[in-house]
Symmetry: C2
Subunit: 338 residues, 2 copies
């Protein structure tokens, strides 16, 4: 294998085959992938959840992960949020001519490891190589399918007045970690991405606790944007207690310096869970016993909209008793965070 990626590696010819055999097959190996047909035959029972995400994060490596582990964790989590057990992933790579092959191999190896750790198989894929300057190093798109474990499945439109709102841990780490790496901000050195697969936590929540109304991972746009989406889809009001929202000190101080609101920063290993009040403690116990849920907390409650509040609003109660509306941002200033 040469040291940098050649255009020929995306041609479908021998150079492509070598890349597939030496790189992807060796790190992703499993019997389904090894058939090398145009599509993979899956051993899976319905009903099925299916999701996809494209990953363009820059730089490709950041504290706590890289674009490849993110592509595995993100899609595993998307599928999980339907109360499903993710089983199979596909991976599509768009690579820039001249890409350092050692860097690509490190990414691919870590993807294989992340998939094994999450208990999912990478069963099919695709590789395109575009000429130098036509993309920035590499983009990865994963799609996943899983078996839905409960009926009804959790949905953003199923929040009900009285539901407790839980978050599985501290927020804002991923967004700030990528920003720190990209802009070489030394005062953010202690901040690591929370990138992680949440499928085992989800499985225990839906099977052991049950009656989960909403599950969603607050990725792009952060906790505030995701709660706005849920409140809008369900036609309810979410009331949050600011002092209960878990936040690492390094994230709090980093955001203070940069003028960023951690509630709008991306997370890649956290979930929001809405469920009936009386089940909240059981759900928190499950989260806290999971390696990725040690700092889980109840952060709020769902209300029926009553004037002056309107359906879809997210309201933050401050420790001194004030209230402010957490609106959905128009856009944001952190592109390529995932």
């Amino acid at each position: 294998m040469t040291k940098t990626l050649l255009l020929d590696c995306g041609s479908g010819g021998r150079a492509s085959q070598r890349l597939i055999n030496e790189l992807f097959l060796s790190h992703f190996d499993n019997p389904v992938l090894r058939t090398l047909d145009d599509a993979a035959k899956l051993d899976i029972k319905g009903p099925i959840a299916m999701g996809t995400d494209g990953y363009t994060v820059a730089p490709p490596f950041f504290p706590g992960g890289n674009i490849g582990t993110l592509a595995i964790h993100g899609t595993v989590n998307d599928v999980s949020m339907l109360g499903a057990r993710p089983r199979y992933l596909t991976c599509s790579f768009i690579l820039e001519e001249g890409l350092d092959l050692e860097l690509l191999e490190r990414i691919v190896a870590s993807m294989g490891e992340a998939a094994r750790n999450a208990g999912v198989l990478i069963v099919s894929g695709d590789t395109k190589v575009v000429p130098r300057g036509m993309c920035d190093k590499l983009f990865i798109t994963t799609a996943g399918v899983g078996e839905i474990l409960v009926d009804p499945a959790p949905s953003g439109s199923s929040a009900r007045p009285g539901d407790a709102i839980l978050v599985s841990g501290a927020v804002g780490d991923h967004g700030l970690a990528v920003l720190g790496q990209r802009d070489s901000l030394s005062f953010l050195q202690g901040v690591e991405s929370d990138s992680a697969a949440l499928n085992r936590m989800v499985e225990r929540l839906v099977l052991e606790v049950g009656d989960i109304h909403v599950l969603r991972d607050p990725t792009r746009g952060g906790l505030a944007t995701t709660l706005n989406e849920i409140a809008g889809q369900s036609g309810v009001v979410c009331m949050l207690e600011e002092e209960h929202i878990p936040l690492h000190d390094a994230v709090r101080s980093g955001c203070d310096v940069l003028g960023l609101d951690p509630l709008y920063l991306a997370n890649e290993g956290k979930l929001l869970c809405f469920l009936p009040e009386e089940k909240a403690e059981a759900a928190l116990a499950v989260m806290r016993s999971d390696p990725h849920g040690g700092e889980a907390a109840r952060i709020g409650t769902v209300y029926a909209p009553e004037a002056p509040s309107r359906p879809g609003q997210v309201i933050l109660k401050t420790p001194i008793g004030g209230k402010r509306l957490l609106s959905m941002l128009e856009g944001d200033q952190l592109p390529r965070i995932c």
Copy 2:
């Protein structure tokens, strides 16, 4: 909506939501997509076929299609080649800041139409916007799932000595059409991409004709490369009759001028079918009665490897009785053809 795409449209905030609502939901609309959860709940029964492809074709519009229709047809076809009925697709867009929104809408609208024509639903998606210069206009990755209709499913490893080799029509049109558009080659004006969904043809082949050993669409690398893959996976020799390989005059003459071999050019609406000799006529009749199979032909036969031929070889018999080895190319000179 403004006239060009802003970075904010990929933020996950309000600008993202408007793009999703005004553009994607309006053109892809269906009840599954409309739930807007992180993943889609599918009504599908196993066994299931799953495939993915990334599309980076340049330019995005070419005679006979565009990057969006290609992304629908290509993944519908990949799933179909397992003898499956494609049902659901996901779409992931990576868009360049400043992209002409009118161009994006034309692409998205044509994708919606292509999906409806193929009878598949686009059920989930993702949009990332990267800063200007970080990708070339747009890349689209689709993934698809379908219900496998027969057992055993066709596979590249199931070719058997004695099998007839059929192709569903003339080869080389797609690759040459994209090249002609990219390089403004006026003598290629009559060449159009064959981009098309082959799922209905496949369904009739596997259910009405049956006993289909191999189905594969000869995309990147063309007919020659795909046959090399199949011969290698199955450990057989493919013997082709050059004079029976359907070829449009404009493709033949265009390739002569450019010094290209049409057997190595990409197709996006053709399939190769291997099946027992005695079923060949029935399969050709099915192909020819399909809108995309009018020029279907039997182009060769599978043999057991006997010295001097070796397993995995593809041999072309010329009209005057000569034989030449059609090897798999090392690479090729036509990047970003799909």
